[in-house]
Amino acid sequence: MGALNGPMSTTKLFVRGELPKNLRRSFSERIALRTFRPLDPDEEAEERAGWCALGAPFDLDLSSDKVWSGAYLTLGLRLDRYRFPARVIQAELARASHAALTKSGHERLSRSQKTELKRRVLATLRRKYLPSMLAVDLVWNLDAGEVFFWSQSKGLIERLGALFELCFALTLVENSPFVAAERLFPSQRRTHLDQLERTPFHAETLDGSG
């Protein structure tokens, strides 16, 4: 379910900061720098995030016609991650340790040998299994300064915020009762907003509080 089909479950975020003058060119260059780069099993990186085309996680050719749609900038946040169950790692490590001890004739492995063994085991697992892949749609209304992100996961919203800031040098603020109120009311009302306290409605408040 995303921007292009199905019911919509989104998080609304507000963009803070000034847009560059040569917006299209500047952003296109910045997007190219942060386009998703698939994980290579021979690298030590266990996860990576970057941009892909909206609704198409495997499309990493982010040409203008895919990214710009009228007032909207459209992207997908792709996050690939190697995830191995702890028991699998432990079993593979035990097997590798046993083989190393047999080969060397020693009784135990040194700390550095253990570290090296773990690095090798993880590299073997990376070659053996594919990383998990996740892609989430993102639509930015540049006129309104609002971003719709098709996930409500806190972790993914944080990942988006980090990549967005790195890419566009702008920050994202998630919608909330306070953020919405702050945008709706001018500064003199904001002082009032700062002093608001919860109104109790239940029976314990009959003594006159609230």
């Binding site: 921007a3 292009l4 019911p7 919509m8 479950s9 989104t10 998080t11 609304k12 749609s69 009228g70 909207y72 459209t74 639509v139 209304n141 309104a144 609002e146 719709f148 409500q152 998630e174 919608n175 909330s176 009762p177 306070f178 953020v179 919405a180 109120a181 709706l184 009311f185 001018p186 003199q188 009302r189 009032h192 907003l193 700062d194 608001l196 919860r198 109104t199 109790p200 409605f201 239940h202 029976a203 314990e204 408040t205 609230g210």
Partner: protein, 196 residues
């Protein structure tokens, strides 16, 4: 207090907003007039989750034909819980949206958009975005309408006592009084509002 702290300490406003929508439904039948837009019809759907803003883990989730009319929901309110997630149906002009709203973030999930007529993926994308932005604007306008009265003196003097009576005994405010508090009287009290 910095922005992050203020965001956290005012999340209760979302719960109060959803409670006010629920109360408005009981008073007006769900028709809420928003200045500059007209009538928005808000009805409550088949699910609600209530939680104490200070103890989020103590949550009550109710599903059914009318989860808002049952004893369980009333009991949860009477112990200090506020709506946390509410199923809503919003009708404006000829369009209808169904969704769940989260009080903590005002995020909308499972939004069923009005029927779309566009052919071709690009046109369909624009139509879906227009409809998504429209429902977000309507919810923001309803929230602004609520905040207009929440930030006015009428909240403490009239609206909060009426809400309290409704929570405790089911007593519903007179619609004429509700309209006055949310219309002419509010406009004077909340001079300078950007609502609507």
């Amino acid at each position: 207090m910095d922005l992050v702290d203020r965001i956290e300490t005012t999340r209760f406003l979302g719960g109060e907003f959803l409670l006010w929508l629920w109360f408005s439904r009981d008073v007006t039948g769900g028709e809420i007039y928003i200045k500059g837009r007209g009538a928005v019809l808000v009805s409550l759907e088949t699910q609600i989750a209530l939680a104490d803003p200070l103890a989020e883990r103590e949550k009550v989730s109710i599903r059914g034909i009318d989860p808002f009319g049952g004893a369980e929901a009333g009991e949860a309110l009477s112990t200090g819980k506020l709506p946390r997630k509410v199923g809503l149906r919003v009708v404006f002009e000829q369009s209808e949206w169904v969704m769940t709203i989260d009080s903590n973030t005002l995020a909308l999930s499972g939004v069923k958009l009005p029927a779309q007529v566009s052919q071709g993926s690009e046109e369909l994308f624009y139509e879906r975005m227009r409809l998504l932005e429209q429902i977000h604007d309507l919810v923001t306008a309803l929230y602004a309408h609520f905040l207009g009265v929440r930030l006015s003196p009428a909240w403490a003097s009239d609206v909060a006592p009426a809400l309290r009576a409704w929570v405790q005994s089911g007593e519903v405010m007179d619609q004429k009084q509700f309209d006055q508090l949310h219309g002419k009287r509010r406009a004077r009290a909340a001079n300078g509002s950007a609502a609507g």
